[in-house]
């Protein structure tokens, strides 16, 4: 039975019920609506940061090349995890369950590596004296607030994504969940990657010591 037929309550009812909106299964449309609302949330904090950044006269550019290099590695890891998640979705759609689960396992591992690199960056900064409202270089105190808030919000999304991938991989492997669940989890994971495409240049590159 297809995903859409399941959503409509079975093949027998499909003929008398209208097609789901936009010709996508309800759970896929739901994750799209969540992504859009989450995009606006990230847009809000990034706009706030942008105005603080250009409006401040003493913002400072504290990131040495080692931090930028760390950010580049994080970007590589997260972009690669999107590719492995695509592998999981393609394998799930092709009915290759074990292959899909392996791809999801690799994606979760890359997510954990990303989070570890992120926390390493945070611990270095905290050791240097950076806090939410404290700037050890004497510049604008909003830098710490903006950096920890925005990267923290993104890290929270990564953590939730890793947990979701592990749960879905387990459920899919046991036959409790379908390829539709793998696809919607993949959409969320790609969104987390998409947000990083703005966080990295705005939070790291804009604050690189040049």
């Amino acid at each position: 039975m297809s995903e859409s037929e399941v959503a409509l309550g079975g093949a027998g009812h499909a003929a008398v019920m209208e097609e789901p909106a936009y010709a996508v299964p309800p759970k896929k449309l739901t994750i799209w609506l969540f992504i859009i609302s989450d995009a606006v949330s990230f847009g809000t904090v990034l706009f706030a940061y942008g105005y603080l950044r250009v409006g401040s006269t003493n913002w400072g550019t504290p990131f040495k090349f080692s931090s930028i290099l760390n950010g580049m590695i994080m970007t590589f890891v997260l972009l690669t995890s999107s590719l492995t998640m695509l592998g999981a979705v393609l394998a799930a759609k092709a009915g290759r369950k074990s292959s899909s689960v392996k791809w999801m396992g690799l994606t979760a591992l890359l997510g954990v590596i990303f989070a570890a690199l992120h926390l390493r960056e945070w611990s270095h900064m905290i050791a240097e004296g950076w806090r939410l409202f404290q700037n050890p270089t004497g510049g604008s105190v909003e830098f710490g607030a903006a950096f920890f808030s925005i990267t923290g919000l993104h890290l929270l999304h990564v953590t939730c994504g890793v947990i979701a991938i592990i749960v879905v991989a387990t459920g899919f492997n046991r036959g409790r969940l379908t390829e539709g669940h793998v696809e919607t989890t993949g959409l969320y994971w790609h969104f987390v990657d998409l947000v990083w495409m703005f966080v990295f240049p705005l939070m790291y590159l804009m604050n690189a010591a040049r």
């Binding site: 859409s4 706009f47 409006g55 401040s56 006269t57 972009l79 998409l194 240049p201």
Partner: protein, 104 residues
């Protein structure tokens, strides 16, 4: 595969190409950071590249290109419009920019 999905979806080889393209754009962003641009110019350049990256990810990684076009037209223009409104009519944020002498 669901009965409503498109059969046009490409294979893994194509997505590897997209992934390489995204990595190249990220590398260009880092290179441009050290070219000595002013803050305003660098912000504009990085935002343009980030929007390009996001567009590619949205269309290919998130498969929006392979969905029915009504899904794209219902979701994306409205989101961009909301973000632009937020940027344009954020009075307090505009006040913040006046703390500093233009151009910065």
């Amino acid at each position: 595969m669901t009965v409503m999905e498109s059969d046009r979806e490409p294979g893994m080889k194509f997505y590897v190409g997209v992934w390489i393209g995204l990595l190249i754009i990220a590398g260009v962003e880092v290179l441009l950071t050290y070219q000595g641009f002013s803050t305003g110019t660098l912000l504009a350049v990085l935002l343009i590249l980030a929007v390009c990256e996001a567009g590619i990810a949205l269309m290919y990684f998130m498969h929006l290109k392979y969905e029915r076009s009504t899904l794209f037209w219902s979701l994306i223009p409205v989101t961009i419009f909301v973000l632009l409104l937020m940027d344009h009519f954020w009075a307090d944020a505009l006040r913040l920019t006046r703390f500093r002498v233009w151009p910065f």
